[in-house]
Symmetry: C2
Subunit: 246 residues, 2 copies
DNA sequence: ACGAATCATGTAAATAATACACATTGCCCC
DNA sequence: GGGGCAATGTGTATTATTTACATGATTCGT
């Protein structure tokens, strides 16, 4: 022990033999997940909400959430919430941030993990409509229960950033879409106006759009071409998504 | 109630009167925070680790972490860990991601929130060295306890991305630094080689570096100028940090 | 005073971003 | 079926940004 040059794998003062015992001694807190589910319709970004079932938040809107089960992965809990409350599956989902303010829940300490989810409103018709489940304009939210407005704000910022770094927007569109729809999506989410020609140029130069050969229908003007996003090619290609800095 | 156009603020089937009761009924889990504390020394990115005090992880390295107290904010818990275990204060800290794999802790279900922290090794000399607390090269980590390698990987990726979007790197450097040091920092973190002239040009064009008028000392060649980062100007200026896409 | 090492600096070429206008297509309606 | 409407589809010139690259200047050490 005199040799101070070598750092021996020395036994610390108190080595803990029984990990189970240790964990049993830990304080515990209730954990929930809350899903910010975005959709896109009528050129507006929407978010899916229900009425809160808490008396203190009577009439206020709330995110879809639930308690995390005893040995459940957080991601699984979020997928479960989506499945149980909307009947939807196969939806983009991503953990965004934990919220832990001590008074964020009127019933006491509850820590929540915010998840952001993107889905195509048209493709997933709502099956269940308990508690007035439906879509709200993201830009005109009010009367939110808990800190759910903060959570939505955080997820919205996350979304604005992420659609410029990754091709997430396609999750909000039908499988086949026109370039105009795609541009409307970006304009709505980023709250900017874009030049149509440069927008097209940018997307075509990435070469991830497949021309389906089909045309829009039910429009009362010249129909645009319909495209699909080439997810396979995108996944394979190491070269990243070209940043979209509007 | 026949009028279906109006969505009345109707009482859902079961309105919950007692929120406290509700929360009491929730399952609870132990919550911890784990801090990935990065430093920079000898042109290498370092991370601060201790020996695990769990017998099953005998000899393995572990992040600095602790259980979250009953009504504690997660951020506060992470700052507390930093303070208690290193004596350091006033350090950049950011929540990165939750880890919740059911078997990530040998003692049973424990959910952890990973925090990423940046500090200047020179400025904060380690006071406490319990459990062989010291710095490790990020590139040569092995024998990690728990899922701490995964956590470090996630935080490292977060760091690589973030230093290109925000001026975080300066937290890892002394208050006064040479441009070479700054470049070494970026090169080490991003694992790339950069052109010196273009690097200087980029940083000077942002106009956030203040020439202190001082020069490097104790170098055995022509000393470089020392700069400070103009945090005030950066905070004020709405125009963002110019993306650094190396 | 000389060599070694690193600092400091500018320019030309290539690439990417922006601004901008007109012909084309399909629908609708008369 | 012809003309107006509304949106689609396309190219180029200009500007800004990024990249590649070489030389003289300064300080230290001997």
């Amino acid at each position: 022990m005199k040799n101070e040059k070598e750092l021996p794998v020395s036994r610390p003062m108190m080595m803990i033999e029984d990990a189970v015992d240790l964990v049993r001694s830990y304080p515990t807190v209730p954990l929930t997940v809350d899903c910010v589910i975005f959709g896109f319709e009528e050129n507006k970004l929407k978010v899916l909400l229900i009425r809160s079932d808490l008396e203190v938040y009577h009439g206020k809107w709330s995110l879809l959430g639930d308690v995390v089960h005893a040995t459940e992965e957080l991601d699984d809990a979020a997928y479960r919430v989506l499945q149980e409350r909307t009947g939807m599956n196969d939806v983009y989902l991503k953990q965004v941030q934990a919220f832990s303010a001590p008074n964020r829940h009127p019933g006491g300490r509850v820590v929540t993990l915010a998840y952001c989810s993107l889905l195509n409103i048209r493709h997933h018709e709502l099956q269940i409509t308990d508690n007035e489940l439906h879509w709200h304009n993201v830009r005109s939210l009010k009367d939110m229960a808990f800190d759910h407005k903060d959570i939505i704000d955080a997820c919205y910022k996350w979304l604005q950033k992420s659609i410029q770094e990754h091709p997430l927007g396609f999750n909000l569109l039908p499988e086949k879409f026109s370039l105009r729809e795609l541009q409307n999506l970006y304009e709505a989410i980023l709250n900017v106006e874009l030049d149509r020609r440069n927008f097209r140029k940018k997307f075509f130069s990435m070469d991830f759009l497949i021309d389906t050969g089909e045309l829009e229908e039910d429009v009362k003007h010249r129909p645009g071409k319909l495209y699909r996003f080439n997810f396979e090619k995108y996944e394979k290609s190491k070269r990243k998504w070209i940043g979209i800095d509007f």
